[in-house]
């Protein structure tokens, strides 16, 4: 089920297997039939570790979503709560346990904290008087979850906000712990580089933990040569910009969650002969996206403009392959053809799916709105009139376009201009408050605190200088080759950092683990994959992050949700 994890140079399936083993061990600790009560947020990430079949093998018969009140009836011996260590969830558990029917046969309650148990939460359970009724209170250490052959994520959605806004370094502690787990499986990473305060903090914690675990390390030959820790706030620009790779656009438009995307079903309707148009599917089409799908692996990181060509090339190859059947004369040849059939059919389905997805995306990318938006983004990045209020943004506000879109653009302008002049900043803020409501004043405060929105303090804007000296912008980038224009922005800054020595064995690529603290976008991943593939690069990259983000989810995580009272 997880073949895609073992495709890369580093077999991330080992990590998954370790996680599965631990899960099985816990389940077996609670002997007898069980029902799992899920903290809903965990189901997605857990799906990447274990399917229902594994749970079923270990006598999990029912699954519920955690909510207050009485638990649904289930004739099981054990009730297990799978929860994040959050106080509000403890209150729900307490409620569940307390309202258990005393007359029925008693059920054993267990709590499994993911990714780590918390004394604070246990204290809360104790205060609520239910800690005593829990048979097992355990932790399931799930920090880094393998998403693909070269991609790990902790899927901690509030990591950026906690680190950079609230000065809460919990997620960094989990990061350090997660990296220690990784090192236990893949050897101690000999070199650590980093950029930013959080990176320093994580590195320090890792060194400390290494000392704590001293003596217990297994002597595994290190798989990773280097660890590069990067603070998200070192580059706030990239996540704000619209991603233009195929995968990036899917995420921007439909948002990819835990490796799956839900798409409008119309384009996927299978028109069979004799069937009318009337029964169109109404359920969204769910597609799994990872490198196990050959075609997807090929096109995911391409600039969207190059996807069409790639798809038609693939179409030709596939139909040619099907045509082969006419050439198959001997029994042996036919047999060989038949043996390849399943693979070819899978390829054809995959092609059909992605052609539909590409059509869906194309409808959007060819719209004026998309084009105008992109033009403004590019103007900002090339430094055109960034110190004035932008008319496009003004118009968007006047039209009351979605607030997140506005915030993305305003923040982008601020970052590109190294802050906005007081007049411009106040203008935008006032416009936003008047149009979208006063409640967003706190969101604006947050953006300012996170540095996404700021007052220009320096007399000069130094972004153009940086852009020019580091060649962050490539004019006329050949879209067909360079997977994403902004990859330059990423690498110009960091590549020198991660190429200091070459202790790796000759003739073999070095492997660098790049950890983005606070989130990474698919476009950035694409850029690193592009670097991995460069023949003279000599380095392969595995990417890890606290959360897979895009501009929308990034801004959303920083917003303050205040409901207007009735």
């Amino acid at each position: 089920m997880a073949a895609h994890l073992s495709y890369g140079r580093v077999n991330l399936n080992i990590l998954r297997e370790a996680a599965r083993k631990e899960l099985r061990e816990f389940l077996d600790k609670c002997a007898g039939s069980k029902a799992i009560v899920w903290d809903e947020y965990l189901t997605g990430p857990f799906g990447l570790i274990a399917q229902y079949s594994l749970l079923k093998e270990h006598e999990v018969e029912k699954m519920f979503t955690l909510k207050p009140g009485r638990l649904p009836a289930a004739d099981v011996k054990n009730i297990i709560f799978f929860v994040r260590p959050k106080l509000e969830l403890m209150d729900i558990i307490a409620d569940n346990v307390a309202s258990e029917d005393k007359l029925r046969t008693p059920r054993d309650f267990h709590v499994l904290f993911v990714p780590r148990r918390s004394l604070l939460c246990e204290q809360r359970l104790k205060e609520k008087g239910v800690l005593g009724s829990l048979i097992n209170v355990d932790e399931y250490i799930l920090d880094l979850i393998p998403y693909d052959g070269d991609l790990l994520s902790m899927e901690s959605e509030s990591a950026f906000r906690e680190c950079y806004l609230e000065n809460d370094q919990t997620s960094l502690y989990h990061t350090a712990k997660g990296l220690m787990t990784l090192q236990a499986l893949y050897g101690t990473i000999p070199q650590i580089f980093g950029k930013g305060e959080c990176a320093r903090h994580v590195a320090n914690m890792m060194l400390r933990m290494k000392r704590e675990f001293a003596g217990c390390q297994t002597q595994i030959l290190p798989v990773f040569d280097t660890l590069l820790l990067l603070d998200r706030n070192v580059d706030l620009l990239t996540p704000l910009a619209t991603q233009l790779t195929y995968e990036g656009l899917i995420d921007e438009i439909y948002s990819i969650n835990n490796g799956y995307v839900k798409l409008p079903p119309e384009k996927f309707a299978q028109k069979k002969q004799g069937e009318g148009e009337k029964d169109l599917p109404t359920e969204p089409k769910k597609l799994q996206l990872n490198s196990a799908e050959e075609l997807y692996a090929e096109i995911r990181d391409k600039n969207f403009n190059a996807v069409g060509a790639a798809l038609s090339k693939k179409a030709k190859i596939i139909s040619a392959a099907f045509e082969e059947r006419h050439n198959a004369k001997t029994v042996g040849e036919i047999k060989q053809f038949v043996s390849q059939l399943p693979h070819m059919q899978a390829a054809r389905t995959s092609l059909a799916n992605h052609t539909s997805v590409a059509e869906l995306i194309k409808d959007i990318t060819t719209s004026d709105a998309f084009f105008d938006n992109l033009t403004v983004e590019q103007e900002f990045m090339t430094g055109v009139d960034t110190d004035k209020a932008n008319t496009y943004i003004e118009d968007c506000i006047a039209r009351k376009d979605p607030l997140i879109k506005i915030l993305r653009l305003v923040c982008m302008q601020s970052v590109c201009n190294n802050g906005l002049k007081q007049k411009v900043l106040d203008f935008y803020k006032r416009e936003i408050l008047q149009t979208y409501g006063f409640q967003h004043i706190l969101t604006l405060n947050n953006l300012e605190k996170a540095g996404l929105l700021k007052l220009q303090t320096a007399t000069r804007n130094n972004y153009p200088t940086i852009r020019k000296t580091l060649k962050l912008w490539m004019e006329d980038a050949n879209e067909q080759v360079a997977s994403h224009q902004f990859y330059v922005l990423q690498k110009a800054e960091y590549v020198p950092v991660c190429r200091p020595t070459s202790t790796g064995q000759q003739g073999e690529n070095r492997i660098t683990l790049v950890f983005f603290l606070g989130g990474v976008t698919y476009a950035e991943i694409a850029a690193l994959r592009f670097l991995s593939q460069m023949e003279d690069g000599g380095t392969e990259y595995v990417i890890a992050t606290t959360k897979l983000i895009n501009g929308t989810s990034f801004i959303k995580s920083l917003m303050e949700r205040l409901e207007v009272p009735p």
Partner: protein, 857 residues
């Protein structure tokens, strides 16, 4: 070939004094089984000086070469006289000695972790360590205070060390694991009116049972029932069973009857191994199994006062005379015999030893040993022997035999002789796997070290393997033999955290209890010795120091602990909460920080608590997060304390949204505004002020016109007003709040289109020059499907946008005209992209022509 004799090496194969059954010259017994031989090896000449030997004392020796405890009865029999408790190593070196001041001891015994158990008559069990320090006590049941313990046995099972007692009411009470006492009263034995003639504890099928004999009857007592049993094939002439002995692993059982017969068989009594007539009618003092696992020759050692008998299924018996009163200590693979002067090991001769050392043996190992001996003498006979082995193709076997035999030897010289021979033989072999040789050498070095007189742990190789190195190291640590333990760890290359670190930790825990030394001295010594040794838990050591009442020392030691997380609980326990907080922060574990913060909150008064947090920004921000969700008022207090007006402003804004009543909302916002002013955040103050103004306006409107708008944004309010036609009010708001013209125009345009008030829209378009141009008018009309209205505005659109406008209203011709007029390549393409080749032929042609001419220029 010359005849070889190994008498010198064979000397400890003590010949039996007499054979009870006559053996044939081929040294085979009449029923065909191999002659069975035992050897008795002297382990130590005891270092103790016991005037009366083992007479008049209770003795308990722990298995696996463990310590020996003696409880000597007082010399004088005056009521004030007290017995003396003494503890010795297996070699008789004294470890502890003290006057016994507690009650009457019925039984002594050792636990698996070398603790001494003293079972008293009143059912109390006292636990002492190796050095005679009292550790704890527990009771085997209150009823024993009255009824008394008649007999007690201490036994070992996979569950740990257990105790079984027989009460004065002839009931058995059992505790299977003294570390986790669960007393079990076994069922009554019907008709039992006195002490059973003999009994023992058996551990079978995960159950602990008692087997007892009264007269000729045997019973098995388990948790639920008392079952009479009879051994399979038990001779009818047997009358009273007077001794019983279970084997080390509880698999076998031996019964001795007053007719002198020994029945040997499986512990479930269903299989009989043999029955031997010892011809001894006097009751033996002790009986024990002496059987090396996997050997084919089970045997039982029976002891009388001056006399020792080894019996087995071959019906051969070996007899030894004893000089002194002795005690048998059953082991896994042998029996140790301790007397007042000597400590001996009785074991079955291992097959390989016999093959090598037997006179005139032709076994490959024997030949190899001889070859090596000749080689050392520089005699060419060495070659002859080697050839002989090679002819049998037995060199590999020979080396293996020598190595194996070396493992069974206690005398280092003999070990060396055998190993040298093996090493010599190895030279003539290719592809010989060295593991067995290397590991045997290593194990023997360790064994010789612990067998040494000064250490006194006489383990056999088999026992050592069974108990594992880890346990051996533990035992050395219990004996405070730290240097030796460390040497062994280093020699065996045991990973630090399992080996050296563990030993050092024990050393340090012991060190901190030495009250005569100053805190600084001990802390320095500990840190010097332990340094950064991997896996050392300084917090455990500190905890021990704290237990001994040395808080200062504990704090000093904690400083060395690399795991900050480990420091915190102890620091809290010692009430060093400030320090605990900094350590928690250092660990990066936010949960731990929360724990300390919660603790501090309960311990301190509010002012001190806030002050403490103020000095710890990380803790403060975490606590704020906590308060944000759990205790809003505290949050306010925190901000107040820090004069953080910006955050206070935010706090009030947030609060205003939690209020249903408009008045309270307004007062929250008023507070927010004040705070923002104090924070010199002009923008926020002004924005808040505007919001209040808006709310007031909305309320008024609601009261006057009945339009519900409270809480809407300015934009939505305006939109609402325009939709319901309150243009005057909208105009007023627009002016009051200085809404930018552009936005207002957009807003009004959209509202009018939504209302489809085209007349008003046209009027509006003429009020003044549109700040947003006229293309939006076209677009909005089209969006509301009114092409007719849309066309009205096309002419007003700026030239740059005119093409778009024409296209929007579907006037391709007009669009083409403008594009051609403007000779704009982009616009031409745009129009073309909207044309269909069939219907718009003429336009397409015109456009293409223009493009062509433009291209030429």
């Amino acid at each position: 070939m010359s005849c070889r004799s190994y008498a010198s090496y064979y000397h400890y194969y003590l010949r039996p004094v007499a054979m009870l059954s006559e053996l044939g010259p081929d040294s085979r017994s009449h029923d065909g089984c191999v002659f069975f031989s035992h050897r008795k090896i002297e382990l130590y000449e005891m270092g103790w000086n016991l005037k009366e030997g083992l007479r008049n004392c209770q003795i308990a020796a722990a298995p696996y070469g463990g310590p020996i405890a003696l409880l000597k009865e007082p010399q004088r029999s005056s009521p004030s006289a007290r017995p003396q408790l003494e503890i010795y190593t297996s070699s008789g070196s004294p470890m502890a000695s003290f006057m016994w001041k507690s009650g009457v001891v019925k039984q002594l015994g050792w636990t698996i972790s070398d603790d001494l158990l003293c079972v008293q008559e009143d059912g109390t069990v006292l636990v002492y360590d190796l050095f005679g320090s009292f550790k704890r006590h527990f009771s085997m049941g209150n009823e024993l205070v009255q009824s008394h313990v008649l007999e007690a046995k201490i036994f070992h099972s996979p569950y740990g060390t257990g105790i079984a007692v027989l009460s004065g009411a002839y009931r058995f009470i059992l505790a299977t694991n003294i570390e986790d006492i669960k007393l079990r009263r076994l069922p009554e034995v019907p008709g039992l009116q006195g002490v059973p003639s003999c009994w023992t504890v058996l551990s079978q099928d995960r159950q602990t049972k008692v087997l007892l004999a009264t007269g000729a009857d045997l019973y098995i007592l388990d948790n639920t029932a008392c079952t009479p049993v009879s051994p399979s094939g038990f001779s009818p002439q047997a009358t009273n069973i007077i001794q019983v002995a279970g084997s080390f692993s509880y698999k076998y059982l031996a019964l001795f009857t007053d007719s002198g017969h020994v029945w040997m068989g499986s512990a479930n009594l269903k299989e009989k191994l043999c029955e031997v007539d010892t011809k001894m009618r006097t009751p033996p003092t002790q009986m024990a199994w002496c059987w090396r696992p996997k050997s084919q020759q089970p045997s039982v050692v029976i002891m009388w006062e001056k006399y020792l008998l080894v019996v087995g299924p071959c019906k051969d018996t070996i007899q030894y005379n004893l000089d002194n009163e002795s005690v048998l200590v059953p082991e896994l693979d042998s029996v140790r015999i301790i007397s007042g002067t000597h400590h001996e090991l009785l074991q079955e001769v291992p097959v390989v030893s016999e093959e090598i050392f037997k006179i005139a043996s032709m076994a490959p190992g024997a030949l190899l040993l001889e070859a090596h001996k000749e080689y050392e003498k520089e005699s060419q006979k060495a070659d002859e022997y080697l050839r002989e082995i090679k002819e049998q193709d037995g060199l590999g076997e020979a080396v293996k035999q020598c190595v194996e035999a070396a493992g069974y030897e206690h005398e280092p010289e003999t070990q060396k002789m055998l190993l040298r021979a093996a090493s010599f033989g190895k030279c003539f072999l290719s592809n010989f796997r060295p593991e067995q040789f290397v590991s045997t050498c290593r194990d023997l070095r360790v064994l010789n070290a612990v067998r040494d007189y000064t250490v006194g742990i006489p383990l056999t190789l088999q026992q050592y393997k069974q108990m594992t190195v880890q346990v051996l190291i533990d035992r050395l640590v219990y004996r405070k033999l730290y240097p030796l333990a460390i040497e062994i760890c280093r020699y065996l290359k045991i990973p630090e955290y399992q080996g050296v670190s563990r030993v050092l930790k024990h050393w340090a825990c012991c060190k901190v209890q030495q009250k005569e030394e100053a805190d600084e001295v001990i802390a320095r010594m500990v840190s010097l010795k332990l340094g950064e040794t991997a896996g050392i838990s300084y917090s455990d050591i500190a905890a021990r120091a704290y237990e001994c009442g040395r808080t200062e020392l504990a704090i000093k030691l904690l400083e060395f602990e690399p795991r900050s997380g480990e420091q915190v609980p102890l620091l809290l326990k010692m009430k060093r909460s400030q320090l605990a907080l900094s350590k928690a922060i250092e660990s990066g574990d936010t949960d731990l920080v929360y724990t300390v913060v919660t603790y501090l909150k309960n311990e301190m008064n509010r002012g001190d608590f806030f002050m403490t947090l103020r000095n710890q920004p990380i803790a403060l921000s975490l606590y704020r997060q906590f308060c944000k969700h759990q205790e809003q008022d505290t949050l306010k207090d925190l901000y107040n304390q820090d004069d953080d007006h910006q955050e206070l402003g935010n706090f009030y804004v947030r609060a205003s949204y939690q209020e249903g009543r408009l008045d309270t909302r307004m007062s929250c916002l008023q507070n927010a505004m004040d705070e923002y002013n104090k924070a010199k955040n002009e923008f926020n103050a002004k924005a808040t002020e505007e919001e209040m103004r808006l709310l007031r306006f909305q309320r008024r409107l609601e009261e006057e016109k009945g339009e519900r708008m409270v809480g809407c944004s300015l934009q939505d309010t305006l939109h609402c007003l325009l939709i319901v036609g309150l243009h005057k009010q909208a105009e007023q708001l627009y002016k009051d709040f200085r809404v930018p013209d552009k936005r207002y125009w957009w807003l009004k345009l959209n509202a009018l289109a939504e209302k489809e008030d085209w007349e008003e829209m046209e009027k509006f378009s003429k009020t003044k020059k549109s700040p947003i141009g006229y293309l939006p008018f076209v677009d909005v009309c089209i969006k509301h499907h009114n092409k007719y209205e849309a066309r009205k505005y096309v002419s007003k659109v700026t030239p740059e946008q005119k093409v778009k406008a024409h296209i929007a209203v579907g006037d391709l011709e007009g669009a083409a005209e403008v594009a051609i007029e403007r000779r704009n390549e982009g616009e031409i393409s745009l129009v073309l992209s909207h044309c269909t080749a069939t219907t718009d032929r003429t336009i397409v042609d015109r456009l293409n022509r223009t493009r062509a001419t433009a291209g030429k220029k």
